[in-house]
């Protein structure tokens, strides 16, 4: 596909841009009050596309819908049923909560939004340059808005200048989307690459298996005429094309608890506490990775000095986790591995395929990461707090802070849920035991594993060091699965194609 054919104009901008220059943002969660008014508001809404403009825009608007939201807009049940099981049954289905680790104090019953009557129908995301947000929202949320929607929550966001509330630089590593579809997903892949098939992030395109993900394909009629045709079924209209799933979770961060715990572990030594924090994340506060930068290029990692210094690494040379602990947040969420361990030639691959030649305890244990990438689009909220200030007790009535974690993916169960379930909340990740993600883990006991609050820091040629009794630093406050439609699909949902 040539560049001119890339359907940026039918794709919401969030897929391509994080809108980083638009430092103010607010996510409004709402329920449909009047179908007709909602449709007409949405029809008129200036939703930003992914087309790159000569001049960066000063504002942006994005919209996404839950399954009940699509139903409330009058989308036919048969169409909604074409979306993935996870999207249709929602984030809070009981067995899903178990898998996501949303139990105990993270259970949906404790959430501020996202359960039963507080399940949003849609999220409207407003982005603007400094000082422009209020104006934008005022302009767009006039009388039409009030007639159309009941607001559930306004999720305000803050700007900690590229850092998340614990104080670590964030937003450094992202997969590179293969917009041009020039990359051949069909394996086997023996080296780690950061370029990922378009179909992992947009519905209607080939994914890492070279196949298409679940989405509604419908017959062409007057209502659906303007929709794109399905690539894999040309006589059908593709409601999913250029759309994707948007996962939103409000994660409260206990910044004081985090720093107080690790400073205490470090016996009051602040410099050492920072090293512990870096071991937990896998990067220092300034974003520098603990793993060694390699000379060899990685596909999809730009050859800019800054990018190289932050992202041109894998964990291959650090199998024991001596530089970057096995359980560090970035090693769990992106193990930077590939389909086969140790870049084998064809013969070795055959031997490996039959299960021989890999006898180490951790060998070949972790799934190939190219099937499990997410595009993170989260924003922090609440007032900033420096690590030093965090050592003081909280003043009464202190405002909550945290991350509105957001990510985009075409297959929620294989991407977001897998990361969350098999990698971050899993106390058995990569032959570890008794510990889940040191940063985001819920520390909930599971059957037979009363302890999940350890963190192991391997040492070279010595017994490991270990912290025990990590409390949870992150608590889930709400969440939902949304569909972020392509712009033609949005028009179809609003009935404007009829």
């Amino acid at each position: 596909m040539t560049r001119s054919q890339i359907e940026y104009d039918d794709t919401q901008g969030l897929v391509r841009f994080g809108f980083g220059a638009l430092t103010e943002a607010c996510y409004v969660l709402a329920r449909v009050r009047s179908v007709a008014a909602a449709r007409s508001w949405l029809h008129l809404a200036p939703v930003t596309s992914a087309v790159e403009l000569d001049q960066a825009p000063a504002t942006a608007l994005q919209v996404a819908f839950t399954a009940p939201g699509l139903a409330a807009l009058g989308v036919a049940p048969s169409v909604i049923a074409g979306f993935s099981h996870e999207f249709v049954s929602g984030m809070t289905e009981p067995s899903r909560s178990r898998r996501l680790g949303d139990v105990g104090s993270d259970a949906p019953a404790q959430w501020e939004w996202g359960t039963s009557t507080t399940v949003p129908h849609l999220v409207v995301m407003f982005f603007a340059k400094a000082q422009r947000l209020e104006g934008l929202m005022k302009d767009l949320m006039g009388s039409g808005w009030n007639e159309a929607f009941d607001e559930l929550q306004r999720l305000h966001t803050g700007d900690l200048e590229g850092h998340e509330p614990f104080g670590f630089r964030d937003g450094i590593s992202q997969p590179e989307i293969d917009w041009e579809q020039s990359y051949e997903p069909l394996g086997p892949h023996v080296t780690y690459g950061n370029r990922v098939a378009l179909g992992e992030f947009l519905l209607g395109y080939r994914n890492e298996y070279g196949k298409y993900t679940d989405r509604p394909l419908i017959d062409a009629d007057a209502a659906s005429e303007g929709l794109p045709s399905a690539e894999d079924a040309p006589n059908k209209k593709d409601v999913g094309r250029n759309g994707t799933y948007f996962v939103l979770r409000q994660l409260r961060q206990d910044v004081r608890g985090f720093w107080q715990f690790i400073v205490n572990q470090a016996g009051g030594n602040f410099a050492q506490a920072e090293m512990i924090g870096a071991a937990m994340v896998g990067r220092g506060a300034n974003g520098d990775p603990l793993a060694a930068i390699q000379a060899e290029k990685i596909a999809g990692i730009e050859q800019e000095p800054e990018v190289i210094a932050r992202n041109q690494f894998t964990f291959d040379a650090d199998a024991l986790g001596v530089r970057c602990p096995i359980g560090a947040h970035i090693r769990r969420t992106n193990p930077r591995n590939t389909d086969y361990v140790g870049r084998p030639d064809a013969l070795k691959r055959l031997i490996a395929m039959l299960g021989f030649g890999q006898n180490g305890l951790r060998d070949d244990l972790t799934s190939s990461v190219r099937f499990h990438r997410i595009l993170r689009r989260g924003r922090e909220y609440g007032p900033g707090l420096s690590p030093q200030d965090a050592l003081a007790p909280a003043p009464p009535g202190e405002a909550e802070r945290g991350l509105h974690f957001a990510c985009l993916n075409a297959n929620i169960s294989r991407q977001f849920e897998f990361l969350q379930n098999a990698w971050t909340m899993n106390s058995k990740f990569s032959a570890l035991t008794g510990e889940n993600d040191p940063v985001v883990g819920n520390r909930q006991a599971i059957t037979g594993c009363p302890v999940t609050g350890r963190f192991t820091i391997p040492a070279s040629g010595r017994l490991r060091r270990r912290m025990s009794g990590l409390p949870p630093f992150v608590t889930v406050r709400g969440g939902a699965y949304f569909f972020l439609p392509g712009l033609r699909a949005l028009r179809y949902f609003t009935g404007a194609m009829r």
Partner: protein
Amino acid sequence: MTPQSSFMVLGAIDRGREAELRRLLASMNDAPGQVDAGNAFRDFENLHFARLLIIEDTTREDIEAYGLPPRSYPTYLAFLGDVDGDGDEFLEDAARRASKGLREIFACCEGFIESTDLVAWMKAHRTPSAADYVNWRGRTVRSARENAALYERLQRYIDDNAGALADLPPQAAHATLQQFVQAEQSAGRLALTPENPTPFGWTIANLLHLIGVPLVLLLASPLLLIIGAVFLVRLRSLEKSDLELCQRVEQSHSDALALIEDHDVTNQFSALGGVKPGVVRLWTLSFVLLIIDYAARHLYTRGRLARVRTIHFARWVWLDNRRRVIFLSNYDGSLESYMDDFINKVGFGLNVVFGNGMGYPRTNWLLIDGCKDERKFKEYLRRHQLPTQVWYKAYPGLTAVDLERNARIREGIESRAMSEAEAREWIAKL
């Protein structure tokens, strides 16, 4: 070394008593599908996994879609498990110690009455596996539990003495930990029971199997080659036209299955399917299962089924005169990870077995494609999966990799001396 074996008792459920049986089974659980922590299974020191499963006939739609004459299969009750030692001996033991409970359950099966001899009935209803996989030959329930206790004890010791141990070089660390364990053993706080000798009969039988199967295949090879060539041509044309039945499963079906999953780090999996019509498919599948059984018996006995390291036990069982097959396994992680592992690591193996099942996504030369159509494959598996009514695992919270790690740590504790390199590798597992 104590070899493991599997058993499965299969009885047709008396239609009038199915509801009663379901209630009875549900009453054994404390969470959906998870047997009560104080259950009777726990009393059996040699029982790794057990399950009670109602096998409903879910293959009718597929049979119809393939245009075959409809058959009405009974609804079965299966009682199955994986044990150290002999299956028959286990059943005798179970009948001795849990007679009341077992009788109550089997009373819901056709032909089981007050006066039925429980042991004889169970033995008569045993249904053998076509292929059996054991994660680690010789690992007993007892050693799994003892090794886990050893691991936790060592962890606590290292944590409590971090200051003194942190700077020890590998060999010194090994020696120190060894001494600690010996002291714990003498004080009676840790038990590390030595292995039992391998039963002589088993060794001979295994050896005969090891040599016998290839020998027979070799002798038959001229014939097999001809049949193989004919089959291949036929299969190649079949696989291009065989029906795929991978439509989305009902949400309620997948929700019901999910309800009983992810309570422990390990899950159970049961899936039933019809074999595609015709002798070519039937004999191909029979041959493939023979090979799998052979490989599992002689090659994959140390923690790996090809590349997959998350399966504790698995088996394939023929039902109804080889018209249907049921696959049963115990695996670590969520179903999504299990399916991904399968697709990405042993796709060829899946295709060559399940490709003979009705509705499987289309394969290419038997080994290629098939499950690589992720979406279709995942729907296919879910479609054929059956909810398990009661499930038991002897070592909650432990994965197959945990068991392997713990066993390797124990090996290290029990090995006299280690080189510097060995000691380095060993302490990295702690």
